[in-house]
């Protein structure tokens, strides 16, 4: 079972610098590195939610499947989490996640999160904070696309590749240098 080093994890998730060393160690110990080939399905809509995936390298498309085709809802990169609602929400996956290129993630199981949460571990609070941050970004992103979509021809589906980083996250990171 391969665990990331502190440095490697913090490179991908600089916000984790807010955790103490022992807390970071516990978080890392609860993850397992998993890899996906390009176009591989990380999870599919309707699957039981059993884990969250912290993206170490590569990118993921989150897709919603309609009756006729799929729409890309989000594109996620290193430092993002995908499937994180599986940690707190027991409902089946509402969307699918597909590796866009060679994808490497750290997988955190629902059971591991529950263990951290039941222990009142600060790691669980950090995870929830990241989950909340991701939800806010994704909601704002979808709302912005809704505002533009009605003016665009059908077929313009894929979110822009250029990633807009949260300036707050960057500012927090700089403050810790």
């Amino acid at each position: 079972m391969a665990h990331p080093s502190f440095r490697e994890f913090l490179r991908a998730f600089p916000a984790a610098r807010s955790l103490g060393r022992s807390e970071l160690h516990r978080l890392i110990e609860h993850t397992v590195e998993v890899s996906f080939e390009p176009q591989a399905v990380v999870f599919a809509a309707g699957d039981d939610p059993d884990a969250a995936y912290l993206i170490r390298r590569g990118s993921v498309l989150v897709l919603h499947s309609g009756r006729m085709d799929s729409v890309a809802l989000a594109r996620l990169y290193r430092g993002d989490m995908v499937g994180e609602m599986g940690l707190v929400d027991g409902r089946p996956r509402s969307a699918s996640a597909v590796a866009e290129d060679g994808l490497s993630c750290w997988r955190l199981s629902r059971d591991s999160y529950a263990s951290l949460r039941d222990d009142g571990d600060p790691v669980a609070e950090w995870l929830l904070g990241e989950l909340g941050r991701g939800l806010c970004e994704r909601i704002r992103g979808v709302e912005a696309r809704i505002g533009r979509a009605a003016l665009q021809p059908a077929g313009v589906r894929v979110p822009p590749r250029r990633r807009q980083r949260d300036p707050r996250t960057l500012l927090d990171w700089f403050r810790r240098l």
Partner: protein, 173 residues
């Protein structure tokens, strides 16, 4: 004058907030205000500062966003039990949508300060519940986006909570 039960009862009966420990529900209710809105009145406006989040106790509301050409695009509809205004109080940014009453509405307004919980276990529980509420919002908005840019027929999914696809697409007047 608002009776305490008029605030506490909707919190206790809410499918998500009702799962909080009683002490936490006490704290939420103690800081809340009960507000009424007439049809067409804005509950919160796009671009405004985000100082509180809301629980729709009664009535229906419409969520809209300004298109690049200045017209309004419907994002979703809200029904009883919808929690909204959470994104702005969570990330500190301005409102991304306008929410206006479609029918006479009654809301509970919670100041953003209720999120500043220091007790570890209470913080976790509250954050999980608010995450679940935001996830419900995201589910509906993803469906809305899918309907706009992909499959024009609304996907048949089971929606819980008070967030719904825009009323206009469901044939409502």
């Amino acid at each position: 004058m608002t009776e305490p039960t008029e605030i506490r009862a909707p919190v206790d009966a809410h499918p998500l907030l009702g799962m909080l420990p009683e002490r936490e529900r006490d704290r939420l209710a103690s800081g809340a205000a009960r507000l009424s809105f007439h049809p067409g009145q804005a509950i919160c406006r796009e671009g405004a500062a985000s100082s509180s989040f809301f629980l729709l106790v009664d009535g229906r509301a419409r969520v809209t966003r300004t298109r690049p050409n200045g017209s309004q695009e419907q994002v979703a509809s809200l029904e009883r039990t919808a929690l909204f205004g959470l994104v702005g109080v969570m990330d500190g940014q301005r409102r991304s949508t306008t929410i206006a009453a479609l029918t006479p509405c009654v809301c509970l307004s919670f100041p953003r300060g209720v999120l500043a919980v220091t007790d570890g276990d209470r913080a976790l529980r509250l954050r999980e519940i608010l995450a679940a509420a935001m996830n419900e919002q995201l589910r509906v908005e993803n469906l809305r986006l899918t309907g706009l840019v992909g499959d024009r027929a609304a996907a048949e999914v089971t929606l819980s909570g008070g967030w719904r696809l825009p009323a206009i697409e469901q044939g409502d007047a």
